[in-house]
Symmetry: C2
Subunit: 306 residues, 2 copies
């Protein structure tokens, strides 16, 4: 079975949307990536850090999904994020960010994952992402990196360094524009290519995602939903679906990446249906496969070229 | 050959984008719809009004495309619109709207088009749109209506009346939300269905277009472009491609409408490459067919359902 190594936060979130409000619940990029990737046949491990205040039941939830958490260290207080979404759910205010134990996190890759086939570097300080790559004893078949504007603002040289070592970057549209200085996403992707990643995935939220590779481009729509309940974790769930599909299929071609971003969109479309990780916890594999048919119906057409 | 009847403005536009500025140039919904539909094998006619100041060369341009303009009356001063696009090209300020001869426009459908197969009601006062339908001697196979927020604000009862008589409405996302009172586009489309049209096309500009029919939904992406030069007329070009494709193929099934909105997106992707109608005037049919291959590559995938 192929191995997927995930690095990313495992944390507490408190979320407010127009539909309700949560106390501290399970969150973090690593959590969402791990849950999403658990729908594929693979061995996965999360490298992360939590505080002594982190409940055992959350850890049990990850291990029940066959996620190796031997690389998840404990100490201090758990990273906490709190946010409030605006009415359209497309924008949000961050109410609190308490780094806590994350502020001096030194990732340690479990020995049996230093030869992982696919590495998914969730949104974290670029030096942490680099440190994980330093520990790999074999070159992974694919390294995927997710990042955000925060690191472009305060750790750009380190981000540019780690970008030279990866294959795929996932980034949202505004961040792609910031990183490249180009408004057109086609031009932005071309510029980001020159910074290292051969594949550039631009996430547009409810407007889907674009996959760029040289002159080629593929688009995965977001599934039109009656109601989006809570967008938290959708981007990480997308990335986890992408990396998980690639790891399972052991095929890093552009053609296969098309399927991978459709799978990512598919899993993300479930994530937003309930608060936090709730929907991903109850989700069944059959539901995922059934929704793939909806993605087909949504996008597949048959025009005769005249 | 099938007949397409178009009603819509034939007008002067003055456009400013971050890339430049035009004097009064050829514009109007009817013009863009007509040019777009001229890429299909059909007989088309535009019902409209222009002023005595309207240059013969613009009329010649339409007739050179085999567009019947016997329903285009002349008198007074031509309708004039002027707008300035913001830097992102997604929003614009209207600088001037001079209705002129449009203010008392009574459409007269040419006799040999009162039995048109497809009727495309471009964005105009709903009473003008209704009047065109009143003149049809045979029930068209398909009636498509485009409208905008302006009519929702100042002629809503008349708009709701004409909506009961049509098959397809094309409307942008914000307008769909305004008309339905629903934020979710899935819910908005469902509500608009109940107002009359069996098919609801929601245009999302650079984010593509959604086609809704009962519980079914299809999505046509916009082609990611290096540069959008001028978005003026893109929505009308989209509608003209949609109506033109349906009229040519004489097939009003949902499956065929998928192809029609792909064709609409395809033609619109050319329209925005130059100022005003410039690109649509130089466009060749081979270019359209070639770009269809790009739409295929952009959206078609092949996942085995496991």
């Amino acid at each position: 079975m192929n191995k997927l190594l995930i690095v990313g936060t495992v944390a507490f979130d408190a979320i407010e949307t127009p539909f309700g409000k949560t106390d501290k619940i399970l969150g973090g990029a690593g959590t969402y990536i791990g849950l999403s990737a658990s729908f594929f046949n693979l061995q996965s491990a999360i490298v992360s850090v939590v505080g002594d205040d982190f409940p055992q039941e959350y850890l049990d939830l990850l291990t029940a999904r066959n996620i190796d958490i031997s690389g998840l260290v404990k100490g201090g207080k758990t990273f906490f994020w709190s946010g409030k979404y605006h009415n359209d759910l497309n924008s949000r205010d961050t109410l609190a960010t308490e780094l806590n134990t994350l502020s001096d996190f030194n990732p340690v890759v479990p020995q049996n994952f230093t030869n992982a086939d696919v590495v998914m570097l969730g949104n974290l300080h670029p030096l942490v992402q680099s440190s994980v790559l330093d520990q790999m004893t074999e070159k992974p078949k694919l390294v995927v990196l997710d990042t955000m504007n925060f690191w472009m603002d305060c750790a750009l040289p380190e981000l540019l360094d780690v970008m030279k070592r990866i294959d795929v970057i996932t980034i949202n549209d505004e961040e792609a524009r910031q990183l490249s200085g180009e408004y057109s996403l086609v031009k932005a992707a071309a510029k980001i290519h020159t910074m290292g990643p051969k594949y550039v995935v631009i996430k547009k939220g409810e407007h889907g995602a674009l996959l760029f590779h040289n002159k080629e481009v593929f688009f995965a729509p977001a599934l039109p939903l009656e109601e989006v309940f809570d967008p938290t974790g959708a981007g990480d769930t997308f990335a986890g679906g992408f990396a998980g599909y690639i790891a399972q299929s052991e095929n890093v071609s552009f053609e296969n990446m098309k399927n991978a971003i459709i799978y990512g969109s598919n899993l993300a479309s479930f994530c937003v249906e309930k608060f936090g990780t709730e929907r991903m916890e109850s989700l069944k594999k059959e539901e995922v496969v059934n929704r793939l048919k909806q993605f087909r119906a949504l996008t597949q057409f048959d025009i005769a070229l005249q």
